[in-house]
Structure formats: structure tokens, C-alpha cells
Point group: C2
């Protein structure tokens, strides 16, 4: 299973699932039209409650990443369904800003911040399959 969770993490379980599904889509581990495990199946695999998985799936649906069919289950959407919107740009800015402010305050230069980002991008690139 490509999905793992950390029960001791400060990040809520349903958000960990959400983030990893998004990562799976980016890395092409989850392809367009592909089905995610059923809420019961994934919950059993991870040893958590069904409703926690359901919460993650519904969030992903609300954000456009997947569709949920009553019978077919959760299916990965095409990229146009979750293309960055103006609203998302603002949300992203609001999320990045305090990180830049604190890191700057702690003496991390712009160049070094970008270096850290480069590491992350490189790390994603290495994981990415079939470009």
C-alpha cells in the first residue's frame, strides 16, 4: 500500500490521507479514472475508522481531486478539475507568507529558502514516474 499514516503526527489523520492522495496524483501513482480503495478497505488497511477515510475522500471531492460514485467508489479526476484558481493562489500565498516571514526572521535568506524548495522539487522529480 502506497499510503501510510503517523498516529503521533500533529497533522490530523484525514489530512494525512488527503495530502498523500494528492501526492499520489502528482507522482502518477494514481492515474486519471483510477479508483481509490473503498473507505472500508482503506480504513481496515490503516487500522483506523471508516469515517476518517470518508472525511478525507469528501474533502478531496470538494477540492476537485476526485469524484465519488455511490457504487464505483472514489475516482481520480482529470487535472482541469483541480487546476489552480484565483482563490487557490490567495490561499497558497496565505500559507507561504508566515513561513517566509519566520524563516527570514530566523536568518534564512531568500536564496537559502529557494535552495530548500529546490531540494523538495528535486525530491519530487526523482520520485516522479514517466514524467
Amino acid at each position: 500500500m502506497w499510503l501510510t499514516i503517523d498516529l503521533r503526527s500533529e497533522t490530523a489523520i484525514y489530512l494525512q490521507i488527503r495530502d498523500q492522495v494528492i501526492q499520489g496524483i502528482l507522482l502518477n501513482e494514481l492515474k486519471i479514472g483510477e479508483s481509490l480503495p473503498s473507505v472500508r478497505q482503506l480504513a481496515a488497511d490503516l487500522g483506523i475508522n471508516m469515517h476518517t477515510v470518508s472525511k478525507a475522500y469528501n474533502l478531496l471531492k470538494q477540492e476537485g481531486f476526485i469524484q465519488i460514485h455511490r457504487q464505483k467508489g472514489a475516482i481520480v479526476n482529470a487535472p482541469n478539475s483541480y487546476q489552480a484558481s484565483e482563490e487557490y493562489y490567495e490561499q497558497l500565498k496565505k500559507a507561504v507568507k508566515p513561513l517566509i516571514i519566520e524563516s527570514s526572521c530566523r536568518g534564512i535568506s531568500k536564496g537559502y529558502f529557494y535552495k530548500i524548495c529546490e531540494q523538495i522539487y528535486r525530491n519530487i522529480g526523482l520520485l516522479e514516474k514517466g514524467g
Copy 2:
């Protein structure tokens, strides 16, 4: 007062205070050795509870940004007290990574992501005084 809070924000009040104090330090609105308002004073100004302010101050103390003296109040530390540590680098990476992953998944290129960061850095630079 240079500090404002948004009660409807998803960000906890005590974290909003923390973030703005850090921003104040970065922008030199708060100088080394300068005192922050007392917990009671700031709470009254913001129309919130004393303990919420106290929680923010204690977090800032724990992170090295300020010192708290029983009588003198909360005093801004010198930069060496909150210089980025190896632990902080890891924390920063962990915070930035999901943002890069989601934005990439939503079709935002590395170049555009940096453009957004540039906007933020420029915005900070414009606000910065006597840098």
C-alpha cells in the same frame, strides 16, 4: 496598535498573535530589548482573554523570540536566540513540502511558485524599515 486579529480566521488567535510578533521583529517594528504589551493590556486592546495572550507569549518564549520576566514583562531577544537550527530546517521543509506538492498537482510550475514567493519577499521588503 500594530497587532490585529481575525476572530473568523481558521488560524487560532494565539497563533495569529505569535505570527504577528515574529513579523514585527522581522520588520523592526519590535526592536531588541523592547517590551511587548502586558498580557492584560494586549488582551484588553484586542478584546480577548488574558490567557490567550499568555499562551502566545509563552510559545514565543519557548521558541526563543522573547524572554518573559515576572515584572519587566515580555522582552524581544537578540537574533542569536532564534537563529535557524537544524531542527527548524526540518520543520520548515515539512511545512513547505505539502504546499509545493499540492501547487504542483494543481499545475503551478516551479517558476510560478517562486514568482509568488518573490511577491511575498518584495512585500516584506517594502514594509521593512531602516533595513
